[in-house]
């Protein structure tokens, strides 16, 4: 069977970020140190976006960057820290200054909100958060943060969380074809639901492959092309975080980042050097150094 002429969804990182309007809501892909769309966060900062709301379970360096640079003013998240390295200093400062509002959910609650959005139902029930301040205390969402009801079927208490259909979903994957068939290796975190809940989906990928290659391993296609609006291909999108089977985290850079964010001055220096001081993602990678990047490449069979 011959392939019909197909749409090419590839655009540049700058074009993709330009579509995001001030005040938009974004589902933010990746989980913990894995497949973080750092390059997209950098570009939002360079384009001086403002008042974004970011929805995710637990992103780390990217949330620090967007809070620190004043790109995002609202987070609906479950977690903010650099895990083993420690607290998120930028977020901590912006919250204390009143410049960032965090509406607190749990990981499962956020994943259910994305699932609800993807399924096009208004809410999802879950059994977490009940009895705690996560139910009692609310910020800008007020009573729309969640509801605890008596289940109409069993009478048991159950927590309802509102579904999310944000303006954009931003997801970083290993491989994609130009149609948008996106393959993810390793864990998916909450990216299956998250990719499908946004009004538009931008997929960032490390590698472009042909559709015939996609068809040799269809089980790895976690996001079929029909969901995907735009595709951005770039190397080392997650640096200094990791991308399974492609590259490890850059612990030295990560520790430097974490140390510099301890003070506002240190963070501003990082921001000026590594994000505002370069024209684009390749400028950033040049600054990090290709020799360093090469050392991070994953070793088979470990995947890191």
């Amino acid at each position: 069977m011959t392939e019909a002429e197909v749409e090419d969804k590839r655009i540049t990182l700058a074009e993709a970020a330009k579509m995001v309007n001030d005040g938009d809501g974004l589902f933010w892909g990746g989980f913990g140190y894995q497949r973080a769309p750092i390059a997209f966060a950098h570009e939002l900062v360079r384009q001086k976006k403002r008042n974004l709301t970011v929805y995710t379970c637990g992103s780390e360096v990217d949330l620090e960057i967007m809070a620190g640079a004043g790109v995002a003013t609202r987070y609906e998240i479950a977690f903010s820290a650099i895990e083993a390295l420690g607290l998120s200093y930028n977020i901590r400062r912006r919250v204390s200054e009143g410049k960032l509002q965090v509406e607190d959910y749990t990981n499962l609650a956020m994943a259910m909100r994305f699932l609800g959005g993807a399924l096009n139902v208004p809410f999802m029930p879950l059994r977490s958060m009940m009895g705690t301040d996560m139910v009692n205390l609310k910020r800008y969402r007020g009573d729309d943060k969640l509801k605890v009801i008596d289940c109409p079927f069993t009478g048991d208490k159950i927590c309802l969380v509102p579904s999310l259909q944000p303006d954009y979903s931003i997801v970083h994957v290993q491989r994609v074809d130009k149609l948008g068939n996106a393959q993810i290796d390793g864990i998916v975190g909450e990216d299956l639901e998250g990719a499908r809940c946004g009004k538009k989906l931008i997929v960032l990928a490390e590698e472009l492959i042909d559709t015939s290659e996609i068809r040799t391993r269809p089980s790895q296609t976690k996001i079929p092309a029909m969901y995907v609006d735009h595709v951005v291909i770039l190397p080392y999108i997650a640096h200094p975080m990791m991308c399974h089977d492609y590259y490890d985290y850059d612990l030295e850079h990560l520790m430097m980042f974490h140390k510099m964010t301890q003070t506002e001055e240190g963070w501003q220096e990082y921001l000026d050097n590594f994000i505002l001081g370069v024209d684009n993602h390749y400028g950033y990678l040049n600054l990090v150094g290709w020799e360093n990047l090469h050392k991070l490449r994953a070793t088979k069979p470990w995947g890191y």
Binding site: Q34, A78, A109, A111, E190, D245, Y249
Partner: protein, 256 residues
């Protein structure tokens, strides 16, 4: 006499509470080392799960993140968050979860979110992550904390994760799936919970500490049983395995 650090003691102690064949949420840090140590010693058939989606994991190096690829190689399934926190945890299939906290109250409720008032927090902590999900739905909870008077409070600044909430019947009132905290392990003592009042109770003190030391370092009335034994020390085997699991001292620290 075996030589060990406070951290090593905590990890060995926590590991002893994992039973063979159990489904365990490992996380990162000290809990992960405790779960791995249990697997290498008395609980070889325990199933280590990371909430990011790794199931039946056997990392050859310690992961820095629950989503670290170090969790991947050797695991038997690599899926996602709805799988681990939903199908496994919320469905009641997880036996043991480990949690740490910045603050704990006498019912084992935990704060990992804010220090200071919610309206104007002094410090924003990491938040729940999967912590509240685990505390709500795991059959048993093992809590690991460094012992500091300012952490053992009558009233939390913010209650992130449920222990026994306001006492007997608290969890049932909210139809929580899991059983609640079983044990709190600090670098000074072990504490469990009185089955009638659901209040925290001293269980054992670590070598070098007294009951009075513990009492002076909590800000609520701790139940003290008549007999408070001394906690078992880690064995040389446990220490050797731990140090082999974390040769660079990422979580064990260096000299700690």
């Amino acid at each position: 006499m075996v030589e060990y650090t406070k951290t090593e003691f905590l990890i060995a102690c926590a590991s002893s509470h994992v039973k063979d064949g159990e489904m365990v949420f490992g996380g990162t840090g000290m809990p992960l080392l405790a779960a791995l140590l249990a697997k290498e010693t008395h609980a070889p058939r325990s199933n280590l799960i990371s909430e990011a989606g790794f199931i039946d994991a056997r990392p050859r190096e310690v992961p820095l993140s629950v989503a670290d690829t170090r969790y991947y190689y050797g695991c038997s399934a690599s899926i996602g968050l709805i799988e681990t926190l939903g199908f496994l945890l919320q469905a009641g299939r997880i036996d043991v979860g480990f949690l740490g906290a910045a603050q704990i109250d006498e019912y084992g409720n935990l704060n990992t979110s804010y220090i200071g008032p919610y309206e104007a927090p002094k410090v924003k902590l990491p938040g729940s992550g999967g912590g509240n999900d685990i505390a709500s739905s795991a059959k048993r909870l093992i809590i690991m904390m460094s012992h500091d008077k300012r952490k053992f409070l009558k009233k939390l600044d913010y209650m992130t994760s449920p222990g026994y909430l306001d006492g007997p019947g608290g969890r049932e009132k909210w139809s929580l799936v899991g059983g609640g905290p079983e044990i709190v392990i600090t670098d000074m003592c072990q504490m469990d919970f009185d089955s009638a009042t659901k209040k925290i109770r001293l269980k054992s003190v670590h070598p070098g500490f007294t009951v009075q030391d513990v009492q002076e370092n909590v800000m609520f009335d701790l139940i003290i049983p008549d007999d408070v034994p001394t906690t078992d020390e880690p064995t040389q085997e446990q220490l050797d395995i731990m140090r082999k699991l974390d040769p660079n001292g990422i979580y064990l620290g260096k000299g700690g």
